[in-house]
Symmetry: C2
Subunit: 412 residues, 2 copies
């Protein structure tokens, strides 16, 4: 397989853009990526577009890539629409990488774009709820509701809240967070510190949805979503787009003196957990490290899937940034802060940069690409000397594990 | 890039399966493909799944591959969800081919699965309508409705019918059919002959949705949908699934003495038509012929995208099976019949085998694979001696051209 480089990236600010559509958001990200790559749209030989919810939210169920890109004057080239829930656009990047790595095309575009905000907010939550096995989930909700009638309504109420799927995912994260506290002595303060760090980083990132700083007290005193998760520990919904231009080594050398190389592009799915065996993130990460010929100790910067604050800690362990149970200490030590040994989510992450789900994967890759090129301004890590970065993106859930995990290792 | 073989295929009968879900349909196709390939599910290293409408029809918007395949015991492997409207699963096959051709994986599964029937049939038509630019289309319908009020309601009525999107596509095909008649003297009888041929072939195909034979008179006297298209000239909606196992040459030689090789896998998109320049099908076909090192004269069997009977004739010309304007004569001559020089749609095609849109692309490939292996029973072409086959699959429409076209050339 051939070496693949990233030579340009662009993204919109993430946020609530009720007056902007998929085409408009997509255009801004793509134009940014083409401009940075110094590539004209006619040089793009194929495009892969990730989006998760447009069917249910905007009514554009099919050929979203073509609808968005034709408007910009792209035509004729192969266009692939892909979806893997919150990992949709890292999957798009993975396929774009595959196009170049295989030798079929030399210059390929990856785009992630999502519009979650809708005047009817229920529609957004309902759409996000389809990142699970809908049929099974409905059975679960019905069963809980039936039990609730017997128990005075408590369980039915819980099922009702879970019916808003953000809470469904948050129920999962909260449950795992409570187990981690019990098993390792992790504290709510440590979870809060993740949110404090993320919001602090986002305050420095012009692309972030939420740019206010918060203290540990602010985070702990925010409204409770599901014990121990307060609202500031949960990723918000949002709209946005992010795009990257990938190309062959030969092309990269013509285009830039600062290529960033894709050292590993690994995708995996969850399976039924086997006690004592590593989970899906660990399995896919090991594969990525092996392909890239590195270990977690070699990473200079990480963007990971902090859909909730505790998730960031679990992923420190899953990615091997620390031993199991040690993630609380890692955040206490400041090792993952912007100036720490291994900065995590310098962008502000899903918690604060925002989480337009189908755009998130590409946005993580955009951030690491810019970090490795030393182009991140106030939030730049390692004084621009970072050489190796990793992104971890998770999508959906079927039974007890993420439906899709992608891990990318980028190197300059 | 490496050589890629197909070593097994499976599919459900297409039809109206109100009591069957995506999982059940998918399972039957996948189990069939694994059985024919003599491959265990644990040998599958990655899976690509095409589906177009489940979000709007069944409510399963995300991670459809994982939901369907986890149920069968697949886990851990990379799973990609892809969509390109009616070309969704030929796009899935294209990506599965890319996985193997690149050298990344040796044994990969491609699956197309779709459930269009719903108790509320309007839901099916509304979902199909999202294979166009929904935003623009709504403007178009509104404008037509406004004109209609001035013109006594006729245009509004037309817009209303067009609001059911099958008719929207059929309006397009009907308009092109009328132009072809005017320009080349093609007749409604010639269009009817396509439907007669397709239904005759489907009568021999146990996987086909409609297995009745019809005469030219039957077809012409069927209810008119849009002049000159009668109901028997239009593809129906349906449910179904089709799957194939792809692998490397080395693996293929271990698994079978009858591999079928993917000689070309080409995907392209429509662009704004330029007068005098070839359309998207011709452009993608030329690319496929060049890659495969063949021309249309080398084809022994073709499965093409006859969403309407006239479309089959247009595609004869677009694929170079005959010169522009000569397609009427080709059907008159019987050249494309089951016993003709170049049999087209021996399966019965979309018209009669059926068109569960996200399953159609893989189903075409399954048919050509089985034809090249001489496994098609009563509908077998060339006495089992066919050596080269082609599939052409079209998806969606943005402005005036198909949003996605895939052309595959298979060789034994």
């Amino acid at each position: 397989m051939r070496e693949v480089a990233v030579v340009g990236a662009g993204m919109t600010r993430f946020g609530k853009w009720l007056d902007r559509g998929l085409k408009d958001l997509g255009r801004e990200a793509v134009e940014g990526a083409l401009a940075q790559a110094a590539v004209d749209k006619h040089q793009i030989e194929a495009a892969v577009v990730g989006n998760a919810t447009a069917g249910l939210i905007t009514g554009q169920e099919m050929v979203r890539a073509q609808v968005i890109l034709r408007e910009m004057g792209f035509g004729e080239i192969p266009m692939v629409n892909t979806e893997n829930a919150c990992a949709s656009s890292s999957t798009a990047f993975h396929l774009a990488w595959l196009y170049v790595a295989s030798g079929l095309y030399d210059v390929v575009l990856a785009l992630g774009v999502e519009k979650l905000y809708h005047e009817d907010k229920k529609r957004s939550f309902r759409a996000i709820g389809t990142a699970v096995d809908v049929e099974k989930y409905q059975d679960l909700v019905k069963a809980a509701a039936a039990r609730g009638r017997e128990n005075g309504g408590g369980a039915a109420e819980a099922a009702g809240r879970a019916g808003e799927s953000r809470s469904a995912f948050m129920d999962f994260y909260a449950s795992r967070a409570r187990s981690h506290m019990k098993r390792y002595g992790t504290t709510a303060v440590q979870y809060a510190k993740v949110a404090v760090k993320s919001h602090g980083n986002a305050a420095l990132n012009p692309y972030a949805q939420y740019r206010e700083r918060y203290s540990v007290e602010d985070v702990l005193n925010a409204p409770m979503v599901v014990e121990p998760l307060t609202r500031l520990m949960c990723s918000p919904i949002g709209d946005g787009a992010a795009a990257l231009v990938l190309c062959s080594a030969e092309k990269a050398r013509q285009l830039t003196t600062k290529p960033v190389w894709v050292a590993a592009s690994a995708l995996g799915s969850g399976k039924d957990p086997v006690p004592g065996e590593p989970g899906v993130t660990t399995r896919v990460a090991r594969r990525a490290y092996e392909t890239a010929g590195i270990g977690p100790q070699d990473l200079d910067v990480v963007e990971l899937h902090d859909a909730s604050a505790p998730a960031e800690l679990f992923e420190y362990e899953d990615l091997g940034l620390c031993a199991p149970g040690e993630s609380g200490r890692l955040i206490d030590d400041g090792a993952t802060s912007l100036t720490g040994r291994i900065p995590v989510n310098p962008s502000g992450g899903l918690l604060s940069k925002g989480h337009p789900i189908g755009a998130t994967g590409c946005a993580q890759l955009v951030e690491v690409f810019w970090q490795l090129r030393g182009e991140c301004g106030d939030r730049q890590v390692k004084g621009g000397e970072a050489r190796v970065g990793l992104t971890q993106n998770a999508g959906g859930m079927v039974r007890d594990e993420a439906a899709a995990i992608t891990i990318h290792v980028l190197k300059r």
